[in-house]
Amino acid sequence: MAVPSPRTWIDREMPPYSLLNAEVYSTLAWLLQAPMCKVRQTTAQALASGVTTTLNFQTEDIDPYNFHNLTNPSRITPTFPGWYRCYFSVGMGALTVGNIRWALARKNAGGTNVFSRRDSKPPTTSQNKSIRGVPFFVQMNGTTDYLEVNANQDGGSSMNTICDGIINSEFFCRWWAPL
């Protein structure tokens, strides 16, 4: 499959079924089920205080085009060029001290190449906190560009992420438009 490039038809063209399938069916199929990937963290991960930690995702809820690779579990590497609609969530554990938690998405691990960030704090310092559904659009080249989620906290000691089925860390991206 490739990003559809609709055909320009010419007069007196009598398209065979194969061409109709290629031009009409395949485009409709793409539009009805554009490439997407959703991965989830199922193993808690330690977040050291004051350290930006790249999250790993161990479970692929859907990944028909191998955007995600379990041997390099932090990355989503879209295999088609285009604009992508994405969001991430991060489940943060309780802290007894400190109060700021933040998460962000980066493209190609660039220091300033950040596409969305959410800062938050729990209602009390002893409660878990989920940073949920932080959305963004991003342009990806379909070959080498990849996305990751980072998280940080200022509790003064290490804190684990939460993977209890209610508060989770997850990462979603779906092809949205051609470049």
């Binding site: 010419i10 063209e13 009409v24 604009w83 300033t112 704090k121």
Partner: protein, 195 residues
């Protein structure tokens, strides 16, 4: 795809000029027996509709600010950088207004960021305005001494000629400043989604 593309190549290899800009909402044809299946019809009914549905030609806008911006609650923020502008909408660089010229439901995302210093308060948020009136907001808590980013997602029905803007909102006093950094800069993404 087997052959052909939006560059204008047909099966016989002729170069075919693309007819105009594909900026109108598709209106699918109801076919009848004996219809002439001309290239013009194919291109209009299939290619142009597909290009629209693929979001290659439908209205889309992505813009952001690239430098620190003074933020005032409810005041429209100029959008200085156009990351993507296509289809039947208009925006002038440094203007706050994005005008749409195709009626329909639009998928909108607003990003807003606040630097660590400056305004004091609790809730800091993002706001979408339509024709100068508040349409939707979302806010979050900022911890004193830290910057904060917030996003707002909504679907909004817009009529041809409407304009949208973004603003900062919340319950804070003093001077708030948006960041020059990607993670916190004010931004607007707007995509035509549905009739």
């Amino acid at each position: 795809m087997v052959s052909g593309s939006d560059t204008g190549a047909g099966t016989e290899g002729q170069s075919v000029a693309l007819p105009g800009a594909f900026t109108q909402i598709p209106s699918p044809r109801v076919w009848s027996n004996g219809d002439d299946l001309s290239a013009g019809q194919f291109n209009k009914e299939w290619r142009d509709a597909f290009l629209w549905l693929l979001r290659k030609t439908s209205p889309a806008f992505m813009g952001h600010n690239i430098d620190a911006t003074t933020l005032t609650i409810g005041a429209a923020i100029p959008i200085k950088v156009e990351d993507l502008k296509q289809g039947n909408l208009t925006h002038a660089v440094n203007d706050s207004k994005v005008y749409v010229w195709e009626t329909g439901w639009y998928y909108a995302m607003v990003g807003m960021g606040f630097l660590a210093s400056g305004a004091t308060g609790t809730a800091f948020g993002a706001e979408l305005m339509v024709n100068g009136a508040l349409n939707a907001t979302n806010d979050t808590v900022r911890v004193a001494g830290n910057g904060v980013g917030i996003q707002l997602l909504t679907d909004v029905y817009l009529t041809a000629g409407d304009y949208v803007e973004i603003a900062a909102t919340g319950s804070w006093t003093g001077t708030a400043t948006g960041s020059a950094g990607q993670e916190l800069w004010p931004q607007l993404n707007l995509y035509w989604g549905s009739k």
